[in-house]
């Protein structure tokens, strides 16, 4: 067992690395902006070029904040789901939240021709995708919550979440079949995920949802510790299982649903980061795990975004591909080295 002081030191180091990654992310991109210009922008002085100010303040900064919120939030919801279902394969999307979001977006983009003008005009607004995918996740969330009230078994909830996923995939296939190439491309690009092109309003809205979800998660950390020991044990400790499950699912849905709405379905982070953190922090105390998971998720996303921007080239790679390309080998390497999964 490590001491509390040791945890603190480790966590402080982690925070420092996060700050460094944040600054690195801001300074790297297709356009190279000299360091003194970057500093000049942030202390409120002008730049020699107006486009540099725009790139830093209205493109890179919201993108970096978006990356941290998305990474941290998905990682936290991954942790919640893994503990709730006591299943190392669970992630924020097992409840069908991302499928719900996909369905919402598919109706918007692919259904535009079928449902006529209204959807067509809606499509061009900045908020349309956000609203569609949030609605989609929300409807799936309602369905899942309705199920949690009827069913005791958490595994059954897991299976039902997967079934929702299958149904939505099927509906998306049918919609895709009747869509033209341009719409398909739009939909596929949404599914790649994208951190950029965010407005400050968007960042603020997501930040509020994120804080709400995070608050609920911290509130349930004691119940999560109890749940790890099994449902019966948790009950014997006086835990109200249904209520706890409800709060945890609500927290995950707010986090994963809102993040997916803004940046698209980003795979892998939610599943992998809790495992990565458990490799280093050999504890099951969620009050320790949660801040570490939060910071590591944010860090991983920032690094992936820096790579995806392929500094000094004109091209950008889809963020969704990068998270798995970078993240998966790390997890494999760690598992091979440690030879076991800490769970």
């Amino acid at each position: 067992m490590q001491t509390t002081a040791a945890y603190r030191v480790q966590f402080m180091l982690l925070l420092l690395v996060l700050i460094a990654a944040f600054l690195l992310n801001l300074s790297m991109g297709s356009v190279s902006i000299p360091l003194d210009e970057i500093i000049s922008v942030f202390i409120g002085n002008g730049t020699s070029k107006e486009t540099w100010r725009y790139i830093l303040m209205d493109y890179r900064l919201p993108k970096a904040i978006m990356a941290m919120i998305a990474g941290g939030g998905l990682a936290i919801s991954g942790l919640l789901m893994q503990t709730l279902f006591r299943n190392p394969l669970a992630g924020p999307f097992v409840l069908g939240l991302s499928s719900g979001a996909s369905l919402g977006v598919a109706f918007l983009i692919l259904g535009a021709s079928a449902f006529g003008g209204f959807f067509g005009t809606l499509l061009l607004s900045q908020w349309s995708l956000v609203i569609a995918s949030a609605l989609g996740s929300f409807l799936v969330l309602l369905a899942v919550l309705a199920v949690t009230f009827r069913i005791k078994d958490t595994m059954a909830i897991l299976i039902i979440g997967l079934m929702f996923g299958s149904v939505t995939t099927a509906v998306v296939s049918v919609l895709s079949y009747f869509s033209n190439a341009e719409q398909l491309q739009q939909y596929i690009f949404w599914s790649f995920g994208s951190l950029g092109n965010q407005s400050w309003q968007g960042v603020m809205t997501l930040a509020i949802c994120f804080l709400a979800g995070l608050g609920l998660s911290i509130f349930s950390s004691k119940s999560l510790n109890a749940l790890l020991l099994g449902e019966n044990y948790a009950k014997s400790m006086g835990l109200h299982i249904k209520k706890t499950t409800f709060i945890i699912i609500l927290a995950t849905s707010i986090l994963a649903g809102s993040i997916t709405a803004f940046v698209g379905p980003i795979a892998f982070v939610g599943l992998a980061v809790p495992h990565l953190v458990r490799q280093f922090y050999k504890t099951s105390n969620h009050l320790v795990l949660m801040p570490a998971v939060l910071v590591c998720g944010a860090l991983l996303m920032l690094i992936c975004d820096t790579v995806a921007q392929l500094p000094f080239s004109e091209f950008t790679l889809p963020i969704n591909a990068i998270t798995s390309l970078i993240g998966a080998p790390v997890v494999i390497w760690l598992l091979v080295r440690k030879r076991k999964l800490f769970f």
């Binding site: 991109g29 725009y54 061009l124 900045q126 739009q186 690009f189 790649f192």
Partner: protein
Amino acid sequence: MVEVIYAKGFEIEDQGNIKVITLKNPWPGTDKTFKYALVKKNSPLKNPENYDAVVEVPVKRIVVTSTTHIPSLEMLNELETIIGFPNLNYISSEKTRTKISEGKISEIGKNEDLNKEILIDLNPDAVIGFAVEGNNSAYSTLRKAGIPVLYNSDWTETSPLGKAEWIKFFGALFDKENEADSIFKNIETEYLSAKKIASEAKETPTVISGAMYKDVWYMPQGGSWGAQFIADANGDYLWKDSEGTGSLSLNLESVLEKGHNADIWIGPGQFTSLGEMKNASQAYSQFKAYKNGKVYSYSMKKGESGGIVYYELAPNRPDLVLKDLIKILHPQLLPDHDIFFFDQLQ
């Protein structure tokens, strides 16, 4: 030999009793060639197995699959021959739409998944297909059913006149080589004289193109059809040096850095107003062309059922496109030309 000057995708050889079309570039990245024999009715063909398709000309009942095929048929006065088309809504031409509403053209599904039963039942003399790569299973089913399928790869041409020259391909199918030739000659003359007028302009405005989807900005590569038009209209397309004939996917940062001072913005995706653009991304309003309202789109001129006219007609009428662009870039040069495809966004 029918003379083909600009198009790189096909050759037509007149061997007296038969004509042979050789398709050299059926889809990008292949060295495959196809040979099609065009024969007069009731004249026997030796070794039909040497050809990928044998068609009796003049063709009386035809199925085409791309809207870019429609203008050629119209110009050759062969609209009556079309009996089927995939996704009829894409067609904008008024004349053809009238025929559709009269029920004379059958819907045959989607190009990737043609309705084989309807097609076989229609029993056309020829199906003019196109292939993005070589495996459209519907076409092989049709060939087995004895319906000749000919690829048309007008879309792989990268020069404006090369695309327009494909009218000669249809000319051969209808035994109207001379008509096709003179239609093309007219377009060529108009195009070259417009280009010459543009080259005399004293200034060369800088041009950007395309728009973002999410945070990826798509714009034509330097060797593309679109870039060629801007060059011929004596505009300075800022990405003219990029290699390739398709489209670039760039990130916002680099486009903003290089293009924020460009004078004119041609073809900003599907947007139909400046407000709509700003709504989609604040970044658009950072460009000088946007601030000055010099944004021109071809997405507003639509057919009755929503098809974009530019996609259908522009390949056949490069002279019109070029004159439009010259009028946009150098308004004083063509005082009598009314812009046809483009609209200035408000």
